[in-house]
Subunit: 83 residues, 2 copies
DNA sequence: ACAATTTATGATCCAGGGGTCATATGGAGT
DNA sequence: ACTCCATATGACCCCTGGATCATAAATTGT
């Protein structure tokens, strides 16, 4: 499972999916990440302007990692342009 | 070129490297991204708490992309990364 | 050394994120 | 229907990132 993240909305989706894949509630994730449930709700719904560190806390708790790559290669992932 | 990003400092490094790889000055990157040179300076030096949207602006201008992946593929351990 | 450019820093102002609590809405189960 | 849990939302305050301008420091070129 690989998420291309270009917007806050993308990020929210990815986080929600990852959380559900682990059968965690927002409250549980809040407890493990130190980010409040209310804040997680906002982020999952794509509220823009989230702070980086909050995202790092979340993805660390969800056992995800962020990779920064160049965007020229043809990815051939088949998931481009879905949204 | 692939950057694993876990902290704001990582992000700053990656952005600086990408910028230099393209022979851009902070001022030029500022002009292309809409983010101010002063802000870019802070971010490249790992100032925490940067906003997501600012990062998106920067990586878009630098032709980079963010990927969110799982760190360890759940069910079995130590088998990731074979391919 | 000097001048020019690049990067960093310092200050002010403002908008918005997140902590925090309370509450409302929604969904699953009985 | 009514609980119980999950998620969303509203309100408040505080804090800080970013815009903005000015300037200091560092780097580069000659």
């Amino acid at each position: 499972m690989k998420h291309l993240v270009r917007t806050s909305r993308n990020l929210g989706h990815a986080i929600r999916q990852a959380r559900k894949a682990k059968n965690l509630t927002q409250k549980e994730l809040a407890a493990m990440s130190g980010v409040w449930q209310e804040t997680i709700s906002k982020i999952e719904n794509g509220s823009g302007g989230t702070k980086l560190e909050t995202v790092f806390d979340l993805i660390a708790a969800l056992d995800l990692e962020i990779t920064l790559t160049e965007r020229s290669k043809g990815t051939s992932d088949g998931l481009e342009g879905i949204f």
